[in-house]
Symmetry: D2
Subunit: 313 residues, 4 copies
């Protein structure tokens, strides 16, 4: 059965036809209007209709940031769109005349990597999407972990430092305040106020300290910039430290790292690996979890959502 | 089908017949000899044989401290007994002529509470056994979380304070160094060196600082001892803080608290509840997890192991 | 001998005549122009000239934010004015034909409290000025601690939490990120995103969360607002914790608390006192340091600078 | 004037004649009996009498672990000897017919390094003695910092990690639980349980993990043992981090490192230097403090106590 996956992001809606092998056969894009939720549904319906002109579609999966209820229908809360206890799945199902499943976007992407990407052959995995925040998806014995109320897998908000850095969620010390693209940029800017002499290459690339981005840090590090190398290593170590905590709880066989930081390669993954090993509980008596880069890139949300829509419920 | 559950502890082996409703029909006890593993198998076989004289037994479940392989047969590592990659399940199965399942003891106890005890009606729960260490068992969507290599659910070794208290596992800052009976006693003794004047009742009960035990602290707290009340509250808050971290990852509906500290009641659970609420991610947009005391007491390991032995694999 | 004290702030210059008993006899004010340092010198000269019309002045003391060299003449670095290795004392001395001493503003205020204010009768004290940041001044055996390069007493930048909150100085975990008016407001705003229902009074006073100020929190706390009370108590505990660390190093007899937070009274000082006592090293074998509120208010900088100008060098 | 310095340690009393240039002209030793304080006074008197046979002595300085009152006469509290508010100075003065000054042993050693050792030419310094604990001595503008009640300079008990490692003083997270010989050995033993394969050289030297000592770690590190190198570097970084905190408060020109760890040389001092620089407040606008090894070795206590006895009071 072919299914359509829809990824509702902050600036655009991407929809695509996905076959049972996880291949994305065709896709289309619509702009998002976060202020007017009904326009989002309009745009999703329009995109699906376009794809149905050329494919027979059996189900639709929708990925969106936020908490989704255990029935995979209601968006309980979305950080960027004015949805509160919003029956998105039902509305779309009625509109489209097709079964619709809604899933958290990080979960959808993780599911795609589990089914068709970097962690296909294992039963227990966790995906960490390092971006603005730190998104998570957890697969336990082949099943996506959703939690009692659909709020599971929010690993970025696991506290790793009591009284630590301030998080946008209102709490302190959340993992994502140490292990995210946002954290990388903020810490690099802070370090630039202290040690600009160690970051000549970075400053040349970015123009000035205020304009530094994550890709700038990665490029500069690859060109040997000492401060940038240190900043990526710090990020890597925080990723590794959090993974060690997760391994005590979940013991996954594989961690899949998604998001743009994958471009940093071993400059990031080396320190992550070392810290994970160093902090891992009882590491002499277990297999070490693997760390792998995600393979599906930006399509993961579409592919995962489509595949979840095909699952029996 | 009746099954026998066997709980192999540090000083004794307890075995019992458990029916399909989780009732413990009859039990028997043998002393443990940690130094001679083959004597343990002897004793288990003997206890099961005794119980089979009066019951028809279809399967045997064994609970033991340590890591058990995903096939639930091999003890990969035990902290207290000289088992390393030891095929305990196979040895016992051959000896008894019955199917045998081996499970980590905290997992077995948690499974019992999930199936027949404090968390029967939910699908997602976590049990925390507060004793010498902090044991954990996690149920995700009705399945016991075991992890890729059988090392899941070791929540006591999730790091909650970087560079924190020294743990017996060789790492620093593990949750159980803050939230266990051992931590309670150690912190209380430290506090007694600083503020003995706030613990007159406790010192009267214990005789002297060196002899303080967890039950002493609980009793003194219940009798109004200010220091003991503070110590239980500190323990409760660390429990709550770790639960909040777990909720970000797992989102269970219920936390079941086992171990002797339950006797402290609200002196412990009140602060735990407050800290969990205060630290919970996105608490305005989700159900708050419940905290409940375990109901099965010391039989939980036997009952859970027996029940797991009946499950299809 | 009468001396003039000059306090160069971010928005205004205040100058006053101070007698040998620390009495401020007359004062005058000029606006500050941070962008044009020479205008500052002009304004200081003008203000001093005005005061000399009515008083015989023997020396001038200038208080300014920043590092001042051991010779008390050169401003090595100022956070708000473009002074770098600037011989402010010499320039003013030439211009005025009077001996001029320059001192860090927190040091000047602390010296005033030591000589004429809250800590007159002791030889060892520390003043903590809780404002935008956390300023410090230390008196050891009757002498103002300046440090080898004039950078002593910057207690707000003592790290109290590794990997803690981000500080404007580029480092993490500085004391002032936990114990300052800025920290109070930021933490209160974060708490308001989580628990607005506990701060109805505060929200009524401030209008909305974004507009909350330190005085709002103090007022709401005094009117019983639960969240505001908690926030002041948190601030107090961080003050106390840092004081305990300072006591291990300095063992002062008195801590003087300056800045607007004094208005919070025991809502702040109670928790500070408790935490200081709880964390104090070897408290059973020493005198407990006292905590007192500053008594000289905004005049402290003028009074202290003037008095320092009279000291033999 | 010649003075006698007496260093009362846990196992022996060492006394020596010190001239005005800090030269130790002759010394003698007596065993200590911690249980019988009066025997200590007996032994001190005996040792001084022996030295007076060949030298004209004008004063006696006594160094001992513990708090000494501001008058430098009364031992308020000693950790190893049963002195509580004990007028040691007066008793000895009467017995000897000489002026006697008592000082904390770390203070005495620091004073010796300031006057005749590694930090002779500066006015502001701090000495850190890395041994069983972390002892401190602070000199501010040429004066020994004693504190209001004689409890200053106890830098080892400055908290550097909230909820950190348990300290013998009853508190958590004291600097000395991270930066002392005891911490080095304990952390190394913990690491050996996790990564023995990285410490083959260390294990060969020590025989087995349980027998590891600080000198073993230093020797193994110097012979290239990876774990030992890491352990010394960790110790060094904690020293550096604490020094950065101290610099915010005290701004000394020089840190003098005493105790056996000096043997580790750059394996320790390199990481200490790096961390101090990395954490130093406003390091672009100040001189960096120097780190130097102590030069007076075990005689520092005797020399410093003798010299303090000569100072006018």
């Amino acid at each position: 059965m072919h299914a359509v996956g829809v990824d509702i992001g902050g600036t655009k809606i991407a929809a695509g036809v996905v076959d049972e092998d996880g291949e994305l056969l065709e896709s289309t894009i619509r702009p998002t209007s976060a202020q007017e939720p009904e326009l989002i549904e309009e745009a999703v319906a329009d995109a699906v209709a376009e794809l149905r002109q050329r494919y027979v579609i059996g189900a639709v999966g929708v990925a969106a940031a936020g908490f989704v209820d255990p029935g995979r229908c209601i968006v309980r809360f979305a950080p960027n769109i004015a949805w509160r206890e919003h029956p998105l799945g039902e509305i779309l199902a009625q509109r489209l005349g097709l079964p619709v499943v809604v899933e958290n976007d990080a979960n959808a992407a993780g599911w795609a990597e589990f089914r068709f990407g970097a962690a296909q052959e294992v039963a227990d995995m966790a995906m960490l999407t390092v971006g603005t925040g730190l998104g998570g998806a957890i697969v336990v014995d082949g099943q996506l972990l959703r939690g009692a109320a659909g709020a599971g897998g929010e690993v970025g908000h696991m506290r790793v430092v009591p009284n630590g850095r301030a998080c946008g969620c209102g709490h302190d010390g959340c993992w994502e305040t140490y292990a995210s693209g946002t954290a990388l940029v903020r810490e690099t800017k802070a370090a630039l106020t202290i040690e600009p002499e160690r970051a000549e290459r970075l400053l040349a690339i970015a123009g000035k300290a205020k304009k530094v981005t994550g890709p700038h840090v990665t490029q500069a590090a690859q060109e040997g910039d000492p401060l940038s190398i240190q900043m990526l290593a710090d990020l890597g170590r925080w990723l590794g430290a959090g993974m060690a905590a997760l391994s005590a709880v979940l013991d996954p066989a594989v961690y899949v790292i998604g998001g743009g930081v994958g471009a940093a390669g071993d400059l990031l993954l080396g320190p992550a690996r070392e810290e994970l090993d160093a902090q891992l509980f009882a590491r002499g008596h277990r297999e070490l979890p693997e760390i792998r880069l995600a393979t599906l890139g930006n399509d993961a949300g579409i592919v995962g959502a489509a595949d979840l829509a095909r699952l029996p419920r």
